[in-house]
């Protein structure tokens, strides 16, 4: 598979991802292959949408393809510039490239590029957005292309940890296992209608709950 990032860029991103979802007593971004997810995403526009039956990826055409080419271009440049910035800050503070720092030093460099306002806006939008997608007002058309380097990397690390394994991350569904999500064994499971989570519903029914309410009200 072709990739966009050169080996140094690749290693730098992988190292930063390992701080974003660190390996603790449970697996992290490294074990789940989050960097493979990102490489696969930004390699071009061939792996944007999996086919819903899991048999491959959609071929994009027309305006949709144009939009995705633009989007991938913007994201690539955010990363390229962000990596240069990380290395510059690492060199200034510790005299070495980001990949060569220890975990504590890496955390300090990442902390220095945080934008608290942005994180808060993202968090709030994500916590309530049940209807429209998470699009906090960041003065831009789309949350993904308007994110700063760290927020973008955090988003993609999360996606590489939790997205369906068909996208190259979430190896052995370890992201899902870590949080207890009984995701489907394949996209085909959902596509055929075999996948159901009814067993995670409550025992009983609305009618029973409401009967209890009525009884209590009478008593």
């Amino acid at each position: 598979m072709s990739t966009f990032f050169d080996p140094h860029q690749h290693d730098t991103l992988a190292a930063a991802m390992a701080r974003i979802i660190p390996t603790t007593d449970t697996p992290g971004a490294t074990e789940a292959g989050a960097i493979d997810f990102l490489e696969s995403y930004l390699a071009g526009i061939d792996r944007i949408y999996a086919k819903p039956d899991g048999s491959g990826f959609e071929a994009l055409t027309g305006r949709r393809a144009d939009a995705w080419r633009r989007r991938v271009e913007i994201l690539r440049s955010t990363y390229v510039e962000g990596i240069v910035d990380l290395d510059r800050r690492s060199a200034d503070a510790y005299g070495a490239a980001f990949v060569d720092l220890d975990a504590k030093q890496q955390d300090r460099v990442l902390t220095a590029i945080e934008r608290p306002g942005e994180s808060t806006a993202l968090n709030t939008a994500q916590s309530v957005s049940g209807y429209a997608p998470v699009e906090p007002a960041l003065q831009q058309a789309s949350v993904e292309i308007s994110l700063s380097f760290l927020a973008l990397l955090a988003l993609h690390t999360r996606q590489g940890f939790y997205a369906d394994p068909i996208y190259g991350g979430n190896r052995d569904r370890m992201g899902w296992k870590a949080i207890g999500f009984p995701g489907p064994s394949s996209l085909a499971e959902v596509h055929t209608g075999r996948y159901t989570v009814i067993e995670y519903f409550a025992d009983g029914s609305h009618e029973q709950e409401m009967e209890v309410t009525r009884e209590r009200a009478k008593a």
């Binding site: 660190p22 999996a50 916590s127 049940g130 996948y195 029914s205």
Partner: protein, 546 residues
């Protein structure tokens, strides 16, 4: 060379979403030939799946903001910024394709709120020109044709109904169970949220599959109730529904007498067509309907079609969705059912003077945001690091929201116009939203989120967050008000039958005619009203006025 002219038809409906498909069903079943022009693709269930990344994060079904931008500003003195304000999917089925579908009825009071509340400063609050009783038969028709699961009589604030629901409530999610426990402890009325899904086989469709991929996902099983699964097939079955996807209407042209002569549209290849019809029905969603009318200028209507009153695009309302979030010791599994197989309360829905603000809103339980692994979040989860990871592990399965819909008040200065600079990928000016919440909206939001928190507390939550809405962001995908119906042509665009005061053969059936937003999810009412208007068109055969 002039543009090709397909055969003239009885009725041309623009948009094949919730309202357009409902109107098409009624009109085709009454014997009319309908051409439907839908700008988006006609996707079948085979193209939908359980892919959170594609559906929630990568615009697989959402409009791509790079192709379909909008702009937003808070006031007329501000520079608009490009923002995907209140997106709704654009495809056959419209916004019903990837919803979980809460379908409460409005209450009788909703139709006469001005009479109940009186004048409210800074708003253009009015009564509707129609009453609950006039709409009631159509609520019933839609509930039975569409397939809604619910429990008649359970909502203590609902108006009289002529018939129960066709299907009993869906199974009880754990988050709905918590909601019942909380409201019971508080002594508040609660009911199973009426849902656009089937609790049992109905009208040839099997019962809805309870999946984790529902809200914001298309339905690969074809078992949910949507315009795509129900009204479109019903209309097609008549043989009189000519549904043309990828047909983007850019202008409605008028003849010398001021009636619409044709819809001018363009297919994906960029070829232009001119569709003539006796009657034109707009069903593009309230924002896009206003935009299309503003794009349709002529000597007769220099400021947009049927806009002699300058009311077109004004009084736009969007609701706002926000929540209190609770963490529980026992598991909630809020992704089960996609997070939206819910229970509701209208305890704080109707107006109560003592609350210090006008009207109220629908409260219901749900997952936190989209409660799937990528998109689930908590207000205080850090962006990265071990603490973020550990919160995912601890709370993903132990959190839920109690949410509310703000009934935002209509204001003349809140409006949809055409942007002066920004165009979409088809080179057409985009909708510019100018919108500032009213004090009443924010006060109501605070009050209702506090009540949400009360329910979580009473249900035993160990930690509660309150997310107060401090602006209207369009996050509900609900749109209303841009072409009010009313009896006075000076203050409304449409008459009580949703026919334009100024254009005899123009009807609007989406949320645009709503004089007020109300505090409940609008689509059942949008479809019921579309059904009512379609019956009216059929009864009068779109005759000329007078």
């Amino acid at each position: 060379m002039s543009a090709p002219k397909p055969d003239r038809t009885d009725v041309c409906i623009i948009g094949a979403g919730a309202s357009g498909a409902a109107a098409a069903k009624v009109l085709t079943e009454r014997g009319f030939s309908v051409v439907a022009l839908e700008r988006g693709p006609w996707r079948t269930k085979e193209t939908f799946g359980g892919d959170e990344l594609a559906n929630v994060n990568r615009y697989n079904l959402w409009p791509d903001p790079l192709l379909n931008p909008r702009t937003y500003r808070e006031g007329a003195d501000q520079e608009p910024v490009v923002q995907m304000f209140c997106p709704v999917p654009q495809m056959v089925g419209g916004g019903t394709v990837h919803w979980q579908g809460w379908l409460p009825r409005f209450t009788p009071e909703d139709f006469r709120l001005h009479s109940v509340v009186g004048d409210l400063e800074g708003t253009s609050l009015v009564d509707w020109p129609i009453t609950y009783d006039e709409l009631e038969p159509y609520y019933t028709k839609v509930e039975w044709a569409f397939g809604v699961s619910g429990l008649a009589g359970a909502n203590a604030y609902e108006g009289p109904r002529s018939k129960g629901y066709p299907c009993p409530p869906l199974p009880l999610s754990r988050y709905a169970q918590k909601f019942h426990q909380g409201t019971r402890a508080l002594g508040w009325n609660a009911f199973p949220t009426p849902q656009a899904a089937l609790s049992r086989p109905y009208n040839g469709r099997p019962a809805t599959v309870i999946s984790a991929f529902a809200q914001q996902h298309g339905d690969p099983t074809g078992t949910r109730s949507s315009a795509l699964n129900v009204f479109v097939p019903d209309a097609l079955a008549t043989g009189r529904y000519d549904l043309r996807p990828e047909s983007y209407v850019r202008e409605l042209t008028v003849d010398a007498s001021g009636r619409i002569s044709a819809a001018v549209y363009q297919n994906e290849a960029g070829e232009t067509f001119v569709q003539e019809a006796d009657v034109f029905v707009l069903a593009c969603g309230a924002v896009e309907t206003a935009r299309l009318m503003l794009l349709s200028t002529s000597a007769r209507f220099p400021h947009g079609l049927a806009n002699g009153s300058d009311m077109l695009g004004r009084n736009v309302t969007f609701h706002e969705y926000s929540s209190a979030i609770g963490l529980f010791d026992d598991p909630i599994y809020a992704w089960a059912g996609g997070g939206y197989v819910s229970a509701s309360s209208m305890q704080f829905y109707n107006h109560d003077e003592s609350r210090g603000f006008a009207s109220g809103g629908h409260i219901a339980c749900a997952g936190v945001g989209i409660p799937l692994p990528i998109n689930w979040g908590l207000p205080d989860r850090p962006l990265w690091g071990p603490e973020a990871k550990s919160m995912d592990e601890q709370f993903f399965n132990h959190s839920m929201a109690v949410s509310m819909v703000v009934h935002d008040m209509p204001q003349l200065s809140n409006r949809v116009e055409l942007d002066q600079d920004v165009v979409d990928a088809w080179e057409l000016p985009v909708a510019r939203i100018t919108l500032k919440p009213h004090q009443n909206d924010l006060a109501m939001g605070r009050f209702l989120v506090d009540r949400d928190a009360d329910i979580l507390q009473a249900a035993g939550a160990q930690k509660i967050y309150k997310v107060y809405p401090d602006k209207v962001t369009g996050n509900c995908s609900h749109q209303h008000g841009t072409a009010r119906m009313g009896d006075d042509p000076g203050t409304s665009v449409l008459d009580r039958n949703c026919r334009a005061h100024e254009v005899d053969n123009l009807f609007i059936v989406d949320g645009a005619p709503f004089p007020t937003a109300t505090g409940a999810n609008p689509t059942l009412t949008i479809m019921a009203n579309a059904w009512r208007v379609a019956e009216h068109i059929a009864d009068t055969r779109g005759q000329k006025r007078g």
